[in-house]
Amino acid sequence: MDTQDLSIAEMGAALRAGRVTAESLTHAALGRIEARDPGLQAFLLVTRDRALADARAADAERAAGRDRGPFHGIPYALKDIYDTAGIRTTCHSRLRLDNIPAEDSVVAAKLHAAGGVLLGKLATHEFALGGPSFDLPFPPARNPWNPEHVTGGSSSGSATAIAARMVRMAMGSDTGGSIRGPAAWCGLVGIKPTYGRVSRRGVFPLSWTLDHCGPLSRSVEDSAITLQVLAGYDPLDGACADVPVPDYRADLERGVQGLRIGVPRAFFATASATTPDVLGCIDRTIAQLRAAGAVVEDVTLPDYALFAAAGRVIMMAEAFAIHEADMQTRLTDFGELTASRFVLGAAITASDYINALRARREATDAVNDVLSRHDALLTASGLGTAPRFDATVDNRAAASPMQTIPFNVTGHPAMSVPVTLASNGLPIGVQVVGRPFDEAMVFRVGRAIETLSGWERVALPSFPG
């Protein structure tokens, strides 16, 4: 049995049955990291001693009759923008190479309290923007499906580590698609929960009003189990919402019979960069959902360009405010791509920003209106598959081939689910969007797509070791 292929639920069952220990799971994961990471560069730091200590503590607790729940003894890793007490947290940047936080982020603390085993800190694009870049203190993570291709960003190391089966779940963050993009391009599930569902406290901000914390994983169920650990009110995060958290696995297998699903087709159908593979895969998914009993129909939302413009203006203005002092005094310590994007925030006027916020209200109202008549939306995650590294070196305009930023602007929960391999052998995902705080419906529809698409039978990339 390759324990790296067990789902989180299966690992939990094996732990409870005594077939494996948290320490054996951790040794297997550390061995896999040692074998595969040198060529893929997912990890900035492997916390071997901490991982073994976490694992032994989990085993000792279980032996003593204490069970902390489904995450007890499960290995995981964190994008290196999540503060970890006593463990270096760099944001993949020269500016924070010596940063050792005093406290855990809320997410790190919750995963630790749930009995998780921290394997290490993962590559990102610098400050969760920019990238992929080769002028940073660490190299960019590579796509396990083809290391000549990018992972998507910015949760790059998170996606690499999971797709290469080093770890089953890793935390990402999503300001314009940084969970869902790498998930789509690496054949994974990635959920951006509703804005306010998961505390952002202790996570280095890119854009306060667009940032979301969420997991990447191999399956919808893995993501549901993880979000169950993370979701909940944090009174010290001003944006966190005091909204009840349901059982995310309760309806996972209910299917889509009778559900109404809207498709904002113009988002992707009118984009010049959309590939035939993506169009075909959306149409196949629609046909499968209809065959399973869902009512699927096209819906109209404001132009994608409006969402994208609002998102970029908000992101750049807020990011510049965060980094203003460093941009004034040590701009050349940033990577070139990161700096070239952050400086744009200095050129955004108050009127630009406020009009972006007016567009945010228009967009949010429009999505809420459509979702008052539909249980969920289905759209593309990206317009194509992961490009080669050498096709991204001139990517200076921040134009994104993703379709993810609208739901950072509006705050709705959104998840990328892998469905197939394109003709070039790289993964494609589709995106499911739900009503505010209705992640349970997003999981339910996502789980149906995961099953109907046959993705569970697609073999992940193989490696020696």
């Binding site: 994208a308 203006v313 004034q328 791509l337 070239s340 994007r341 200095a346 007016r358 008549r373 505010p436």
Partner: protein, 69 residues
């Protein structure tokens, strides 16, 4: 917006913003930043002239709970 502007005009405007913000962009990094600025202006143009005075921004608080449809 930016299509009708000369490169020199765009560069002068960009430089003015950088000066006001206290940011010095090294010459070797300037072309990339300028290209990004031109692209950003095309997106900013989509946001202006769209709304009347009754359209409020998203940071005007709504006191009712989140709408659930």
């Amino acid at each position: 917006m930016s299509e009708s502007r000369s490169p020199e005009s765009l560069a002068a405007e960009f430089d003015a913003f950088m000066k006001r913000s206290g940011v010095t962009v090294p010459p070797e990094r300037r072309p990339v930043a300028l290209a990004g600025y031109a692209d950003l202006l095309t997106q900013i143009a989509l946001l202006h002239g769209r709304y009347s005075h009754v359209a409020e921004p998203a940071n005007v608080f709504r006191l009712q709970p989140v709408e659930r449809g």
